[in-house]
Amino acid sequence: MTAYIVRRLLQLPITMLGVTVLIFAMLQLLTPVERSALYVQSIPHNEGAIDALIRKYGLDRPFYEQYWRWLVGHKDAVTGEIEGGVLRGDLGFSRTGRQMVKDLIAQRLPATVELALWSAFPIIGGGIILGVIAAINHNRFLDQAIRVFATLGWSFPTFVFGLLVLLIFYAKLQWFPPGRLSDQVNVIVMSPEFHRYTYMNTIDGLLNLRFDVFWDALRHLILPIITLSYVIWARILRVTRSSMLETLRQDYITTARSKGLTERVVIYRHAFRNALIPVVTIGGLMVVSLLNGVVVTEVIFNYPGMGSAAARAAGSLDALAVLGFVLFGGVVLIAANLVVDVLYAFIDPRIRYT
């Protein structure tokens, strides 16, 4: 088991290296002049400036040289200082974020984590409950109804559903606003009396005993949470449903029934617990869906997290920021899958990794 985990951990940097090589290769589709534009805010007017930029960042160099430079940094010919280098923790400067990529990620991360954490509860809870109900009522009305509900959610593009939610709950009913905090609450949060422990407004609000802050932050989170949950439910529901269906067909369930146990005991004591084992894998599935969903959701609800920053960076070709975000997302993805695999083996004694 330990050997397996170590091997997986060793594979991680290799995969990430491959990911960055691939993004770099993608950028080679642009000409050096186009690539030089990725590093400046406005296009310089004389050609000499562009040439200087290309030389400064080595954009006319071969692919591997540029990549090496991004990876380990580069000694500036004039000042003699070493600049850049991902391995030194320097991801470069983000043109759209107007700050270092590292700081941009650090600044935007808490908002996204807050959104993801709050969404995880309804996603997991709702998905499992609906999946079990559907399986118990296999092929009956309730099963069909739940599947239609879930398939609708799956068929909804996140942006269309998010906009409809905005249309109803914001434009029409004025219940829940977009954004992250109201202006007046933002003043409280920014004030020196308000101690920021985690930079997640709901949690900080509770820790500071400022329930008005907590409520305001939650009010802003509700619409994105609804959107994310609804579009992700279908996947989790499917896994739970088919796992429960399979469990209900096992011999030990027949045995339990033939012993005269009530259907209730059979389902909740015997089937449900065992059916939940493969459901652990949805942890990985959920992280994948959240990573995709968060981008669109944050853009629509004008929520200042990593997703909206990444979408803006990608849309305006802020290459260094995109590299940073993709790298970050990739690490999260691989780590989540590793945790899920280990957890799976831990819960299910039949699984042994070697």
Binding site: I14, T15, M16, G18, V19, L22, I23, M26, L27, L29, L30, E34, H138, N139, Q144, R147, V148, T151, L152, W154, S155, F156, P157, T158, F159, V160, L163, L164, L166, L167, Y170, A171, K172, P178, S242, L245, E246, R249, V288, L291, N292, V295, V296, V299, N302, A310, A311, A314, G315, S316, L317, V322, F325, V326, G329, G330, L333, I334
Partner: protein, 350 residues
């Protein structure tokens, strides 16, 4: 004499005690038991029948687009939505069409009851007619969906087949590469690549299509690899080798046709997913040019009207419903197919 020459009469199956063979109907004889099980499953489930009807309606809409929404006679590209002026303010359904009016089709006066064009579903910012965009957008959606599905399957097929058949270091290498592609956060990766491709191809359907293909083939490669690895050990492969077939022949004529069947079925049902992803990229601004008949592109006009969405609801509701129904149609069919193909559910009720 003649009677003794005849082959000994085999006992009729029905007469053999304990052996019962059901009657095969003409369809099962024609398409074989596996496909018959699929077809029967799809046509007996009310949900998948609904899906089939929805997809069929979209196909009809795409085929009859020039009749449903005749393009302007002077305009070159019918995929560019005719615009009634340039005002940024969207206009509600029922507004009279004043500029760039298309020809009136024969069905129009009977169905609508008017003898001039109105904007049936309103206009988006820039006075692009939403009805026209939705009708012609069906063609864009089907084209994009089919192209992405076909090419991703071919790539997955080649990578998966080579990887599984040759094994060894080549398998290792190809699977590591597949893992690298899978390690990307999908949407972000596709967004980046299409943003890079826009200056190369210009805005249109190709940047987003290529981006979705680049990050969409991995599932098929892995699935096919798994299928082939198990098919490789079967007796008919050994038999083919004994007869003297070479690698390519064994792979192309014997292994792939047996392993590919579930993949083709599932892939064809992912057309809906691809179209939704394509629309998402269009919505985020790296897809088709403004005014192109593409559902995601029309919805993206709503981004400027978030505060007054209750007034301009028609910008998102109509193209949104088109996208939803399109995705729903394919997913309903796909859902039924997956249940039929899932070996763990085989033989269960229904």
């Amino acid at each position: 004499m003649e009677e003794s020459m005849a082959a000994p009469k085999t006992p009729h199956v029905e007469e053999t005690p304990g052996l019962y063979l059901r009657e095969l109907n003409w369809l099962e004889k024609l398409i074989g038991p596996e496909w018959y099980r699929l077809v029967r499953g799809v046509f007996t489930n009310p949900l998948s029948i609904t899906g089939l009807i929805i997809v069929l309606l979209f196909l009809l809409m795409a085929a009859f687009a020039p009749v449903l929404a005749p393009p302007l006679e002077i305009a070159g590209d019918p995929y560019l939505i005719p615009r009634d002026g340039f005002s940024p303010e969207p206009k509600p359904p029922g507004t009279v069409w004043r500029r760039e009016i298309p020809e009136l089709p024969s069905w129009y006066p009977k169905v609508i009851g008017k003898d001039h064009w109105i904007h049936l579903l309103g206009t988006a910012s820039g006075q692009f007619d939403i009805y026209y965009g939705i009708v012609w957008g069906t063609r864009t959606a089907l084209f994009v969906g089919v192209v992405i599905t076909a090419i991703t399957v071919v790539i997955g097929l080649i990578v998966g087949a080579v990887s599984a058949f040759y094994g060894g270091w080549l398998d290792d290498l190809l699977m590591r590469i597949t893992e690298i592609f899978q390690a990307f956060p999908f949407l972000l990766a596709a967004l980046t690549l299409s943003a890079i491709l826009v200056p190369l191809f210009g805005r249109g359907i190709w940047p987003a299509t290529i981006a979705l293909i680049t990050f969409g083939w991995m599932t098929y490669a892995r699935m096919l690899r798994g299928e082939i690895l198990s098919a490789k050990e079967r007796d008919y492969v050994l038999a083919a080798r004994v007869v003297g077939a070479n690698d390519t022949r064994v792979l192309v004529r014997h292994i792939v046709p047996n392993a590919i069947y579930p993949i083709l079925v599932l892939a064809s049902m992912r057309v809906g997913d691809y179209v939704l992803s394509f629309a998402t990229l269009s919505f985020l601004g790296v897809g088709t040019e403004i005014g192109y008949a593409d559902w995601g592109q029309i919805v993206s006009f709503a981004r400027d009207w978030i505060l007054s969405l209750d007034v301009h609801w028609y910008i998102i509701v109509f193209p949104g419903v088109a996208l939803l129904l399109f995705g729903l149609g394919w997913n309903l069919i796909g859902d039924a197919l997956r249940d039929i193909l899932d070996p763990r559910l085989r033989g269960s009720r229904g």
